[in-house]
């Protein structure tokens, strides 16, 4: 019973990856026009609650919807009252490069 350790680990990795992506896609599936409202939804909070592990996934999505989530996870980011969505997206692209993502 204890022999297929590697297989178990591999399956665990694939499964986690797929689960995280599914959670992200679920949170992104919304017709809401308010980014703040979106970030308060349960599906969104579930993704952010994964913690630092989800940061590379969110950066790769490169969607403005994840601006607030990334700010919460990293402690940095731009204020939506002072920077438009294009500027905030550019900020995360730059931040990803500077931080090795």
């Amino acid at each position: 019973m204890s022999k297929p350790n590697k297989l178990n680990k591999f399956n665990e990795f694939v499964s986690n990856d797929m689960i995280i992506l599914k959670m992200i896609e679920e949170a992104e599936s919304t017709p809401s026009s308010d980014l703040e409202e979106i970030s308060k939804r349960k599906s969104y909070k579930n993704v952010v609650s994964i913690g630092e592990k989800v940061i590379p996934y969110l950066l790769k999505r490169n969607l403005i919807i994840w601006d607030r989530g990334l700010s919460e996870l990293t402690g940095v980011g731009l204020n939506s009252l002072e920077h438009n969505t294009s500027e905030r997206k550019e900020y995360w692209e730059k931040w990803a490069k500077e931080n090795g993502f």
Binding site: P31, S33, D34, I64, L81
Partner: protein, 143 residues
């Protein structure tokens, strides 16, 4: 998820209706929201909690009346029917229990909305309703 299934999961009243997906935006293109779309702005969201909101003229927490003022700032005036009028681009604003929800625009004789990553053609009432994602009711019309 299939695009049509996703849209129909948001708006139960659209199921079985001849709505059309005009465009599915790529991640790079999807930088604006429905209100921005009605104002032909394609690089940012327009909402009360965004830089684009003219907070020096309209308070950020002014609800549905604030959005009406926003359109007035852009030169629109209130109207009370949805009939196409040559030379005008009408805008419908939706709210649910006075919570601002959505805006759609009339382009030529078609109603268009930016919903999530989709630009769709629809009739005004197909997005109405009380489900989790539906936009409530029409609160005002501008032209």
């Amino acid at each position: 998820m299939d695009s049509n299934k996703e849209i129909e999961s948001w708006f139960p009243n659209i199921i079985g209706k001849p709505y059309k997906i005009i465009k599915e935006l790529s991640f790079d293109e999807n930088e604006f929201n429905c209100v921005a779309f009605t104002l032909d702005i394609y690089y940012t969201y327009v909402w009360t909690n965004e830089k684009s909101w003219p907070y020096d003229k309209i308070p950020r927490n002014s609800g549905v009346p604030g959005f009406k003022k926003l359109y007035e700032l852009y030169g629109y005036i209130e109207t009370y029917d949805l009939v196409y009028e040559n030379g005008y681009e009408k805008i419908i604003f939706y709210s649910d229990n006075d919570i601002p929800m959505h805006a759609a625009k009339q382009h030529k004789k078609q109603w268009l909305s930016k919903c999530g990553k989709y630009i769709i053609k629809h009739q005004p009432d197909w997005l109405c309703g009380k489900s989790e994602y539906s936009y409530g009711d029409i609160s005002f019309i501008m032209k």
